[in-house]
Amino acid sequence: MPKDRPGNQAQRPTRRFGFAVRHLAVIGVAGMVFYVVLSTSAAFNITGPSTHPSKELFPFFTWSLFSRTTDRRTEYHLTIHAIDERSFDPPVDMRKIDVIPQFGDSRSLGYKALQNLGDALDDGHADSEVMRERFAARFFGRHDVDYQISRHRYNPLKRWREGPASDDVTAIGRFHYEHDS
């Protein structure tokens, strides 16, 4: 039997640090189970009002990323008709506007926020107007913006190969944002 085993520690007195081994093992396993239960509960909205709009309870996440594949994708687009004194005809997609610095940062988050807003507006969600005001304040900042949100339905592969001509487009609404001076 090797001398270095816990049972032989009388030979070499050492300090014991931190949690007991059994406690550590229990904390570890219980923590992992807790993570799965909590993140899944949040995804199914069981955690109630504490759940984030993206169905998460930060920093717990289901890690459901790119899980659903569909050949009939729904996506919301925001087109700008006018910024301050400048008009666009035809209107320009939000992602193409580089003159507004707010559009440049966290592009992916901006996209997700727009999809959440589009869903809320489309479903007539009670908080949709508040969400729209917050969205505009975040992304339009100190500009006055005339914009439209529309729903596009398409097959992603076909759309990438052939362009947006075959999109099934429905206008959700046209809005105006004036910043607080």
Partner: protein, 340 residues
């Protein structure tokens, strides 16, 4: 019962008895890997300062997440987090043997991640989650320098156990990701729709992402031309994600799966334009350089340990294990008295 379950998950019975030398070496490796983690934390904290500063300048609607529920305005909150983050990260590398700086840097990183996602209006940034949760696990590491901890088998065991749980948690995230992909795929099969298991699934996902980005990715346009190429690649991704937690119990596969999962993240950049630098680094620290990898591990050992497919290699490997004594499991290293 737990021991029997662990042995079943570990696959073949371990042929290597408890070795003090192996235990010490594993502890030394884990000890330095934790140091590397905190050195990188300082680097990320430094980089994060720029992000926080940019958010403070950009402003906009601010809805603080719960870790920063105390926040009143963007500028004060941003400044407090910015100084706390870099200060605690410096403290952790200056006092690497203490526990309290690790707890403080975890709280600071949690606050910084919450601050970043408080502008998302329904979106949470997951780029820091792996780093954050690893830091949470490392808060449970026993304090003390290498000589103090290394001198006692039970302290070495505690250290390795916590390190092992950090590995387990990260692998759990991959398994959860794989589970949802597989579950959605089964649902699509039942409903007769395009889903995870469809030959054009990956190409469809890549096309949708390129449309979202409004620009092509490095390999995306090529894949949309030859969608069938993506099928074996995607099936491989679903497999390695789904069985990732299983690999926790099979140390001979830690390096192989660490590399495979890192390749998966490299692939997400090439195809989807999404980069996960912190994920690749955490895989390197926890899995590719795993302290639990057996001293000797042949390709046949690894093939035998492959979840689901190992059964095809069972007989020859059993013979080889009994002859050369290679193998082992996490428990052999983390449990001082652990034997087969």
């Amino acid at each position: 019962m737990i021991r029997r379950l662990r042995k079943a998950l570990a696959g073949h019975p371990s042929a290597s008895p408890y070795s003090v030398e192996h235990h010490r070496r594993a502890f030394n490796n884990a000890f330095w890997l934790v140091r590397i983690y905190y050195a990188a934390t300082l680097l990320f904290a430094y980089q994060e300062m720029g992000t926080i500063w940019k958010l403070m300048q950009t402003g906009g609607s601010f809805t603080p997440l719960w870790p920063i529920a105390w926040a009143n305005d963007i500028e004060t909150t941003g400044l407090v987090i910015l100084y706390a983050l870099i200060g605690t990260a410096l403290l952790t590398v200056a006092l690497p043997d203490r526990r309290w700086p690790r707890v403080l840097v975890f709280i600071s990183f949690l606050s910084a991640a919450a601050f970043r996602s408080s502008f998302g209006l329904g979106s949470i940034n997951h780029g820091n989650h792996y780093w954050l949760w690893t830091g949470f696990c490392f808060c449970f590491l026993p304090p003390g320098d290498r000589r103090e901890l290394g001198g006692s088998p039970s302290n070495r065991y505690r250290f390795l156990l916590v390190f092992s749980f950090a590995q387990g948690l990260i692998l759990l995230f991959y398994t959860m990701s794989g589970f949802w992909k597989a579950a959605a795929g089964v649902e699509a099969l039942v409903l007769g729709r395009i889903g995870t298991f469809h030959p054009e699934a990956l190409a469809t996902i890549v096309a949708a992402k390129m449309i979202q980005l409004d620009k092509p990715t490095l390999l995306g346009p090529w894949l949309t031309q030859y969608p069938w190429v993506g099928w074996p690649v995607y099936m491989f991704v679903v497999y390695i994600e789904l069985v990732a937690l299983w690999i926790w119990f099979r140390p001979s596969l830690h390096r192989l799966f660490g590399v495979a999962l890192a390749c998966f993240h490299i692939g997400t950049f090439l195809l989807l334009g999404i980069s996960f630098p912190k994920h690749v680094l955490i895989l390197t620290i926890l899995m590719i350089w795993s302290p639990f990898i057996p001293d000797r591990s042949s390709v046949r050992d690894m093939l035998f340990s492959l979840p689901g497919f190992g059964v095809f290699f069972r007989r020859p490997i059993r013979q080889q294990v009994s002859l050369d004594g290679a193998g082992g499991s996490v428990a052999d290293v983390t449990r001082p008295g652990g034997t087969a």
